[in-house]
Chain length 424, copies 2
């Protein structure tokens, strides 16, 4: 049987074991670890493979029906094997957040990448220029300032390499992005000084718009961007045709798709709309499930797709202690699971040696979390003891994925059939 | 020059580069990357080596003067190279939180380990038994339930391997730990059924006691534990002499040391007191700096030690955008720095090409943080632009350390002289 430690540590351990913290990043080929037989070291993170595929198909189906391209944000998983699952479903490309992420994805075979961020810094520009000059990568990055445009222009001109850029437009009190689409000339003037900067379109991220009026504000924001795209297109300021327009995180992708594809302002121009949701592949039972509930409520197109997004990620951990009535302490902590958008949700109880996991009701609740433990409220008379196993779902997949160097893909029998590597 | 990517990726990159996310865990020997010359890929995490050594010495000095042993919690850094720094200063051993952490530390040469947690689960028991039977490791774990004592007793008896255990005592509404030190007979009866379970002492963790009366409650809690130790000692229920008593996180170690070493209840017995603070080595400018301020206020012993604990960990990141007056968006996010106990603090501003970093005042404040960015409030007229670099300190070192696979050790000239590997 596969032994992770044997690769790292002189074969000390003979048992198949799937462990966090060994520090060995060799690609794992082992299979067959049964979670219920305790053949892994808890806590572990696993993904239900069939659910993952379902989610990949669902969002691709949505994008196809909405007539937009899908460039899912890869920073959620930073698992190139999952990028390939997404690309195999028909994704246009992969979006990423940092230069190391881009390099990593490119080295794993991704051929079209949006750096949904500014390309900043001497070393980063050099790494990107090196990558572009030694590969066929199709690459785009965001630009939202004169200073950054000038730095990029000077660097890529000196290297004599063309760089595809998208002007990022943002909202007041938001994140990055040029603030006033009606007054973008100062930025354009800098960009146009550098023929090596290929202006390919406009980008935005609506996910920083919150509050009761969010939907209306997002629609209005996208309309203002559509008008900008249309104006620049008619003024021949883009270097490509069709021009690109890209936005959308995991909460408002339906609104973005609708606004972009029904835009009156862009009616007569040639453009490609690209959405960039990232969390759908893993999904969750927290903030993104609630966001998806709203998508399905408001989008006929989403309703029409058979099936639904389902949380695919599970955390399994041992009960360490039941020290007083109503409280179980579980070996799952901030080191193992996201806690910034809701605490993990107990889904199943399993006692080793019994037939199968039992679904838990809402009486089982994580009430607090520490670095390596969480405190779970249980019924005073709950039949639970140290050594029992709890399976949790979670909220905000990005911040669980980045806590694991390897994540198992499981089948319906709770067997890890493959492990995927993450690159955070 | 050293090139991390060259090890992983067919030598694509020629430039020395110190990057997150490449996924290559080969031990790094490269040196000489100058942060100010942008020879690294920001964001990066670095530790000031001299400050780290200062902190290691400070806590060892405290422990020596308090006549307690120091078994620092290694889960903070999970960097065996830092364990060795601590051991070289005279630490008694290393505390850890999980079985993979224990195995990892043992494999990196740590010879005395406290698993400050329950040893739960079939595979974990097997891994530990294998480790104990193939090494000279001196190992202790916590036990706080009859069920766990029975499971350990049966397993280690079957393997014919002795296991050193410490009974963990806890507080109501706390974390793990047997709740009533005056009524511990049911647990002792189970332990005593198994001669392979060597009862070596009592453990506790006072860090879950909060509120205005915390100090008084902690003192009272420790007194109750001292009485328990004394009673069990006089009843010859321990299997070793001197007996061990261990507690203390990073906030109350002075109180724990004082209470244990001035205990009237334990006046006539032979015991070794061991404290387990973990955060002191890295330290911070947040919750642990505030806790340390209180230590120094109340502990003459801590006051008498020359020098002080100093935050050693820095995060350096690029300004990506200054999209509106008063706001800078920086490429440092939840993926890079702890955010659960206060947001990172901007400490220095550096513009590439200038002489040296400039200290920042409190007008510079991180006001929110996302996965890959943070939003920094700045003066409306602040001279700052994309490509500038901000150096941050942070709060809660454990949750920053676990976001990095490699961390640089820097000298006073901001040069990375060594990189250490973490094993989360």
């Amino acid at each position: 049987m596969f032994n992770k430690h044997s690769k790292c540590n002189n074969g000390l351990h003979k048992q198949a074991t799937f462990e966090k913290g060994s520090g060995c990043l060799s690609s794992l080929a082992g299979t067959g670890w049964n979670i219920l037989a305790e053949e892994v070291s808890f806590p572990i993170a696993v993904i239900k493979e069939q659910v993952l595929l379902n989610n990949a198909r669902w969002m691709q189906d949505f994008s196809d029906r909405a007539a937009v391209k899908l460039a899912p944000h890869g920073k959620t998983s930073m698992a190139p094997e999952l990028f390939n699952v997404q690309l195999a479903q028909g994704c246009w490309g992969i979006s990423l957040a940092t230069v190391p992420q881009v390099i990593n994805a490119a080295q794993h075979g991704v051929q079209r990448i949006i750096l949904a961020n500014q390309l900043v810094g001497k070393l980063h520009m050099q790494l990107l220029a090196d990558l572009l000059s030694t590969s066929a990568l199709e690459f785009y990055c965001f630009v939202d300032s004169k200073e950054n445009a000038e730095a990029l222009g000077e660097y890529f001109t000196a290297r004599n390499i063309s760089l595809n850029i998208l002007i990022e437009v943002g909202v007041t009190q938001g994140r990055c992005g040029w603030r006033d689409p009606d007054n973008i000339t100062p930025l354009l003037e800098v960009i146009k000084q550098f023929p090596h900067l290929q202006l390919c379109g406009i980008s935005f991220y609506e996910g920083v718009i919150h509050g009761n009026e969010a939907e209306a504000e997002i629609r209005s924001f996208i309309k203002s961007i559509s008008r900008l795209v249309s104006r620049l297109y008619r003024e021949n300021l883009f270097d490509v045709d069709p021009v690109m327009i890209t936005g959308a995180g995991s909460a408002w992708y339906d609104i973005v798709a609708t606004e972009l594809m029904s835009s009156q302002a862009m009616e007569d121009i040639s453009y490609t709309a690209i959405i960039r949701p990232g969390c759908y592949l893993i999904h969750d039972t927290g903030i993104y499930q609630r966001a998806q509930d709203e998508v399905v409520q408001r989008s006929q197109l989403a309703c029409d797709i058979s099936g639904e997004l389902i949380s695919s990620l599970q955390l399994w951990a041992y009960v360490h202690s039941v020290p007083e009535a109503g409280l179980a302490v579980v070996g799952l902590g901030k080191r193992d699971v996201a806690f910034d958008a809701g605490l993990p949700t107990p889904e199943y109880f399993y006692r080793p040696g019994t037939e199968k996991p039992i679904s838990l009701d809402k009486a089982w609740q994580v009430v607090s979390i520490m670095d390596q433990h969480c405190m779970m409220k249980i019924a005073d008379n709950a039949l639970i003891r140290p050594g029992d196993i709890i399976c949790f779902s979670s909220s905000h997949p990005c911040l669980t994925m980045d806590k694991w160097r390897h994540i198992g893909l499981i089948d319906d029998n709770f067997v890890v059939n493959k492990t995927i590597e993450t690159f955070f």
